[in-house]
């Protein structure tokens, strides 16, 4: 068979076979592979983009986190300072209150003591009076045994009483 003249029979079969192969591969072979690879490429570039975005978001987040920690620390310091002030104020207040109270109690005690003392003095005085009356009675009884002494006394008393009335 000649080398350089195309044989019709072979050409016929080649046309048929190539057409079938082309149909099968173009329908079920290559487009599936290339299509899927394209899809995967899209997916990969999308994933890369997302990863970049996520990284950026993460960076931002860590900055925010630092900021928040800093803020929290400041707030903590402020609260501690406030608390110390309040504590000091409360202690001071409590102190003044306590000293006021103490002063009040002391004053009360003083007045009470004074009153007690007064009443005690009054009692002492009255007892002293009674005692002195009794003493006086005894003294008088001994002095007034004579009638003359009795009369003199009565006179002096009347005189005193009348002087008192005149003065009034």
């Amino acid at each position: 068979m000649s080398l350089i003249t195309p044989d019709f029979g072979l050409l016929f079969w080649m046309t048929l076979i190539f057409a079938i192969v082309f149909f099968v591969l173009a329908k079920f072979g290559f487009p599936i592979i290339t299509g899927m690879v394209d899809e995967r490429n899209v997916r990969i570039s999308e994933s890369l983009r997302k990863a970049r975005e996520a990284e950026a978001a993460l960076n931002e987040l860590s900055v925010r986190q630092k900021e928040m920690i800093e803020q929290a620390r400041q707030e903590q310091a402020a609260i501690l300072k406030d608390a110390a002030q309040v504590r000091d104020a409360m202690i001071a207040q409590a102190k003044t209150q306590a000293s006021d109270e103490a002063a009040k109690i002391v004053a009360q005690a003083r007045t009470q003591i004074a009153a007690e003392k007064e009443s005690a003095m009054a009692e002492v005085r009255s007892q002293l009076a009674e005692l002195s009356v009794a003493v006086a009675e005894k003294v008088m009884r001994t002095q007034l045994e004579s009638d003359k002494a009795q009369v003199e006394l009565v006179n002096r008393m009347v005189e005193e009483l009348s002087r008192n009335q005149k003065m009034n």
């Binding site: 068979m1 044989d7 050409l11 016929f12 080649m14 690879v37």
Partner: protein, 360 residues
């Protein structure tokens, strides 16, 4: 059927020389007998391997030819006939058909004896090349569909294929990204099924051509009918979908007026339309054919030097085998390279036919 056959025969001959030396020596003593049976008919040996035939000669065991008979399909004066090629073996005639002898008209083809005339019938027999083409196409389809099957079972967006499907994907994407997309440009998706099919078709057929034993070994991409068809496909792809600019450049190119009044440039351009696919056809055909011939020639050294004596034969056989290995490796490269070149040039021609006019 080149390397392995060569290798097996080297081993066989070595055994034969040691064990049956007297038997070999016998016909050698008679010069006429050697001419008839012992010597290699180089012409038949070469053309038997690279050419087409009605049966597929697989091997010869002890002088007995092992040939796969293939259907002969002819339409002659007496209508359609389908019969096995074994009926025509050794010059026999069947229903008025026989294979034309060497030196006759239509040498090697099935011809019909009509009265005293020899007529060539309408012949669409499943020849060795057609059968090889069928096997190779089946292999190609199975390989690609096996590769594509992976995507049905997996979510390709989540993972990339490994193993066989990975190789198929890698090659498909290599062809599409590096050749088709690069050379055609924006509309490449439209052409990529054809160009991918052409690439893998040529590649698989080239590779199967290197395989030296039965399912391979047919010289398919080294046959002009095959490359003619492929080049024709590219020609149609280029010229059917060429844009306005492409045709303007052919019939009314930007050259001085006198070159168009006497239509010199259009003539050259029109010839160019045909020379491009023609070069594709010849390049693939010649490269693969030359590769086959080279390997066959290297292997033939083993048989041609048989009568030069044991030492000479052994030494040259060793060189032949080493050189044969080198040629096979080279052909492996050529198998890929020619598929690559065919696809790339087709893409370039298609790309040229779709070029937009440059902005001035």
């Amino acid at each position: 059927m080149r390397r392995l056959k060569g290798f097996i025969l080297v081993v066989f001959m070595a055994i034969a020389m040691v064990a049956a030396a007297p038997a070999v020596a016998m016909p050698a003593s008679s010069h006429d007998a050697t001419e008839e049976s012992g010597e290699l008919d180089m012409n038949e040996y070469l053309f038997g391997h690279i050419g087409d035939s009605y049966g597929w000669h697989v091997t010869t065991i002890n002088g007995h030819h092992v040939t796969i008979p293939l259907p002969v399909i002819v339409h002659g004066k007496s209508g359609w006939h389908v019969f096995s090629s074994s009926k025509l073996a050794h010059g026999e005639s069947y229903k008025g058909f026989h294979v034309a002898e060497k030196g006759e008209k239509y040498e090697g083809k099935v011809v019909e004896q009509v009265d005293s005339d020899v007529v060539k019938p309408f012949d669409i027999s499943i020849t060795k090349n057609v059968f090889g083409l069928m096997i190779n196409s089946l292999v190609l389809v199975i390989l690609v569909l096996l590769g594509a099957r992976w995507y049905k079972k997996h979510d390709a967006r989540e993972e990339a294929p490994k193993g066989f499907a990975g190789i198929v994907e890698m090659m498909v994407m290599m062809v599409e990204e590096d050749i088709i997309k690069e050379c055609i440009g924006k509309d490449y998706k439209r052409y990529s099924p054809y160009l991918l099919t052409a690439f893998f078709f040529i590649f698989v057929n080239n590779l199967m051509g290197i395989v030296p034993f039965f399912p391979g070994g047919a010289n398919i991409t080294g046959n002009i009918a095959i490359t003619f068809f492929l080049a024709m496909c590219t020609f149609l792809a280029v010229n059917l979908f060429g844009n306005k600019h492409y045709y303007k450049e052919i019939f009314w190119p930007d050259v001085p007026m006198f070159l168009k009044v006497i239509p010199l440039m259009p003539l050259i351009e029109i010839i160019g339309m045909f020379t491009k696919p023609f070069s594709l056809m010849i390049r693939l055909f010649a490269n693969i054919l030359a590769g086959h011939v080279m390997i066959l020639g290297v292997v033939a050294v083993v048989f041609l030097t048989a009568k030069l004596g044991v030492g000479m034969n052994a030494g040259l056989s060793l060189i032949s085998v080493l050189f044969g290995v080198f040629m096979d490796v080279l052909e492996f490269l050529v198998a890929f390279l020619q598929a690559y070149v065919f696809t790339m040039l087709s893409s370039v021609f298609i790309g040229l036919s779709r070029q937009e006019p440059e902005e001035e």
